[in-house]
Symmetry: C2
Subunit: 325 residues, 2 copies
């Protein structure tokens, strides 16, 4: 399969992207990576690695910055985001991975790949490492305010994602709320609770902020505002803990040991955040992604393609629409 | 000063409360604690400690449980929450501290102490330990949905709290949001941004989820839904990290060392969460409070009384109302 990788996304582009692509093709013989970015910079960066037959380059000289408007990738046809997504649209790639501006990747994915039928507003989902496995949190930022039905969509898309990518048979869905009782939270959440309880999904009820790391559910559903605050907070925790623990532990290898153990808390290490519910695979990685995180993002995209995730979603959405679930 | 302590609040009541009260009066010669609870159980628990002249008992045989309705303390006059708050109302105590049901303490405090003039809906505030000091987050659960003006109230009350209890001259106020630009977030947040930017408060703009532990502001303002999710998530982090780090570190004292260093992440260790903007001091502690956490909660109440926090709030609210700020 061919995965188009935006090579102009990370703070350290294209070095991190190229190194991540090299690791990814070495690790998975079925993966080809199409690096999308400035060809001169890419040639330079590639020359530092041993030659890989399964890495090719498509030239896209224009780079979207985090400060650019979300619509900028659509207006700039030579941008790496636009070129990379169009490769998928044209059937020349099976997936797209980018560590560029989240807003720009989302907007361009929505317009170029289109939402699946039955999806109102695709959520961005990301996995949180917990005690006993991963919990997918959706939405983490695409939709600041949500209607009850959208939260149910997030639950359905997240369920299929965890089935196909994590091999869970019947993922437990929790609704992120301020208490476990059904009448807790806003009217939107109360209505979403009723819809989820009446659905075919494996709804385990409300979960609280403290339940996520206890792995009380496999899919935690929330609006993109709450999910975004929580995700960014979580990202900051590992570094904070290392700073708390490091003094006095220097010099005897313990600091590295602790950092290594806490690496699991870094969501970037688990790959990117897929935009769920578009007619294609679009995986958004953190702007600070290391080569390891880029490799993980490519791995997520590859698993999504191999598992037939998009067809599965389209099938289940149709069945839900027709009341067959 | 006299501090009424609900002795029926923690999961381990009244042992944790009695032990916390004993530590508190030993540590602070200006503090008297009135234990409010079942007098037989209290006599038994007190008999395990050396006699303290500055601890007295007021009998209240009825205990509100977490599963009881928030209004239950108001309907049950012999409950420890009702009796304790009425001691303050009658001038027989200067403050009230409880580790009982948050909802019940809030509801009873609102009705029995009354909001200060100019306060619409008092927030519960709690401090998050960060790299360089404490950040107060308000609201962490009293008001699930907020209007822009309420968020400004939270900012004002939080500012005065951090001035009086943490000795900050000009606390930096941040608005918790999904991006730093003024147009980020919901319409409520956009409007709150404008109000805060035009106020006399030291508003530093939007802060993101990852900015809190970086101590980007001293007072982080949000609705009680977001704050509650974040607080409970944060509470769960320290225990999670210890579980991640513990295996293999057992036996050589390191585990205890790590737990000790991460204790600072436990918000309960920093005392309870005051209900801000009522005409009195009401401090809510975690239901799992250790004696150390109860002692810290009593310490928060004592500092609030000594600093004249309530008079300061009333004064500034009046000045803001009259446009003198």
């Amino acid at each position: 399969m061919r995965i188009a990788l935006d090579a102009m996304g990370t703070d350290n582009a294209p070095a991190s992207e190229v190194a991540g692509a090299v690791s990814a093709v070495r690790a998975d013989p079925g993966v080809q990576v199409v690096l999308v970015g400035d060809e001169t910079a890419l040639a330079d960066s590639l020359s530092r690695h041993s030659r890989q037959n399964r890495i090719t380059v498509v030239h896209a000289p224009d780079r979207i910055m985090a400060s650019d408007a979300p619509t900028s990738a659509l207006r700039r046809p030579r941008s790496s985001i636009n070129v990379g997504l169009n490769l998928q649209k044209a059937g020349e790639a099976d997936a797209f991975v980018s560590a560029g501006s989240t807003g720009a990747v989302m907007a361009a994915s929505l317009v170029l790949l289109r939402p699946l039928r039955g999806v109102d507003r695709p959520p961005v989902a990301t996995v949180f490492p917990t005690d006993h496995g991963l919990t997918l949190v959706a939405d983490v930022g695409a939709n600041i305010e949500c209607k009850p039905g959208q939260l149910v969509e997030f639950a359905r898309l997240g369920t299929i994602y965890m089935q196909d990518l994590q091999g869970l048979e019947n993922p437990r869905v929790g609704l992120l709320n301020v208490g476990t009782e059904s009448e807790k939270g806003t009217e939107v959440l109360q209505a979403a609770y009723r819809l989820l309880a009446g659905s075919d999904l494996n709804f385990v009820g409300n979960v609280e902020g403290g339940d996520i790391l206890r792995h009380a559910c496999d899919v935690a559903v929330c609006d993109g505002f709450t999910g975004n605050i929580l995700l960014k907070f979580y990202e900051s925790v590992a570094a904070f803990v290392v700073r708390k623990l490091a003094p006095g532990l220097r010099g005897n290898g313990l600091r590295e040991e602790i950092q290594d153990r806490l690496r699991d808390l870094d969501y970037a290490e688990h790959g990117g955040a897929p935009l769920l519910g578009v007619n294609g695979v679009s995986v958004i990685c953190h702007g600070k992604s290391s080569p390891r995180a880029i490799k993980a993002g490519i791995g997520v995209a590859a698993r999504a393609v191999r598992s037939g995730l998009i067809a599965h979603m389209a099938r289940d959405l149709a069945a839900a629409r027709e009341g067959r679930l």
